[in-house]
Symmetry: C2
Subunit: 323 residues, 2 copies
């Protein structure tokens, strides 16, 4: 019986690391996760990852051949295959290539989670067949992956795609990056919470969220409240979309994408976030770009998106090498 | 004797059209110009262009073989080889491919002048050997050409690279595009004149430029005054560089270029514009990009830049087709 070529996709997160085996059509054959436990040395993590991945491989009924490993991780240097001072992990520097070589002889490729998400959408999702598009991840932070001419834009140092750290207002909100007014401080899950607090501060309208402490408030609660016709919660989404759309108009002026794919927690709010974003984008676009750019949701099954994205990275790398 | 392969580079401007023959090493064998006279039909222009180009070819002493024609023009659609509603020309729509086919059997390629400038720098100038860089043209307006992975970013519609129309201040100066606060209204030759007027309005410092009417004021005069230690003129450059540098930090966050090449009239002011731009760029960059991005002047001989850029376009297209 012919062997099935599969890639191992790994998404290293602050708390959990998800991994799974994916074939070239984007079918996830099996998926599992381990705790990242980044307080332990990275070498311990990679040993555990390998053991868990081997166990998972044994469980797949088809006869598989591992062709490569794609890894998504914060602050990943794609060119050097290293993780450098990741924000939510206590590792300082990890030479991922060397760690993985102890266990695997197949090619390993690494990139940040937003780039992995973009490659996932290109190979298996909403951007299938597109040569020019941008993926924006609206999670705890705001990440982005830009594709032009059918290729991921890594830039000179592999750190391209930091649209989350373009400036909405130079005198605006403090950002984790040490500067003020970054898009991330408005358009992320945390950003919409800050907007909600600002609205509760400014207005006298009643809101069910006034009983929630800032520490407890989540974007999900704001979503639920907006669904229940809480006017301030609905306005928080409106403001978030307006700011996001205006900023995306500037990204369009850079690379003129066919589409912008919004993914991640906040994108799951659907029309509540998509509608004001689209409206604001159109309003702010330079004339020649108007009515051209689609804003669309992810085409990947939510639970598998991270693993699909990471596996897409290595499928993409291997196919480019062949050419 | 072996024939020398040459490309014809043509730069269509509002007043003049410059053209010349360029070999693969970037040597301009001969160059000439005609008046564009865009009030006449485009077909008349292309007939005149062909006649003048043939005359010029005859004058070259070497035995040349024309391998292709590259054209830079405002509002050029690279994919369709058309010029669409150019701002400074009275033509509404020109099918350049069809016009040129009447006279030439060789491949013809078209792009806007900023993209041509970027390709010129990549093949013959300051960005030789770079795979990721941005060229900013600081002329009457502000244009830009972005290169990533060694390829020009045209985007989905071929109109990518409108950094001049990203927003510095949503309540800022009226822009020719109909919106407010575009980078072009601050960082172009006209933009620095507006800044100079604003300074003369706001301050009481003496300035030799107070005797010049707004209609007569040029960026060259501001440059000359700054050289003569006119404090307001020097400050106009300082402000221009500061605004430009802050905005370029956002472009870096998109494509993480190795270098940004500043070309065009205002870039000729040298340190007066480069120093504040560099300082402001570094100040505004996200941490991971600091001390990485060079800001450099054009590597092309000033008079020949437009012709070199246009010829670079067709050399680049032909070499990609071969692969």
């Amino acid at each position: 019986m012919a062997q099935l070529d599969v890639a191992l996709g790994v998404d290293i997160g602050g708390t959990n690391t998800v991994f799974g085996y994916v074939d070239r059509s984007g079918r996830v054959l099996s998926e599992s996760s381990i705790l990242t436990q980044a307080r332990e040395p990275a070498s311990v993590f990679f040993k555990r990852l390998h053991a868990a991945a081997e166990t998972l491989l044994d469980r797949i009924k088809e006869d598989c051949r591992l062709i490569g490993i794609g890894i998504g991780a914060p602050n990943a240097n794609h060119f050097k295959c290293t993780i450098e001072a990741p924000p939510n992990l206590s590792w300082v520097f990890v030479d991922v290539a060397t760690e993985m070589k102890q266990y695997y002889a197949v090619p390993v490729s690494l990139t940040n989670d937003a780039n992995a998400a973009a490659l996932g959408e290109m190979l298996f999702g909403a951007a299938k067949g597109m040569r020019d598009f941008i993926v924006i991840t609206l999670g705890t932070g705001v990440g982005s992956g830009l594709v032009a001419n059918g290729e991921m834009i890594y830039g000179a140092d592999s750190f391209a795609g930091e649209i989350g750290h373009t400036t909405v207002d130079p005198n605006g909100r403090m950002c984790g990056c040490g500067r003020r007014g970054c898009l991330e401080t408005y358009a992320s899950a945390k950003g919409i919470c800050r907007t909600m607090l600002e609205l509760m501060c400014d207005r006298t309208d009643p809101s069910s969220l006034r009983s929630i402490s800032p520490d407890e408030l989540t974007s999900h609660m704001i979503f639920d409240a907006a669904q229940q016709r809480d006017t301030l919660a609905a306005e928080a989404f409106e403001i978030t979309g307006r700011i996001l759309g205006a900023k995306l108009a500037e990204s369009v002026a850079h690379t003129s994408p066919e589409a912008i794919v919004l993914v991640g927690g906040l994108a799951a709010a659907g029309d509540l976030i998509f509608k004001p974003t689209m409206r604001s984008l159109e309003e702010h676009l330079l004339g020649i770009f108007k009515n051209k750019v689609k804003i669309i949701p992810s085409g990947l099954k939510h639970g598998n998106a991270a693993v699909l994205g990471a596996s897409a990275l290595i499928w993409d790398v291997l196919e480019r090498t062949k050419k």
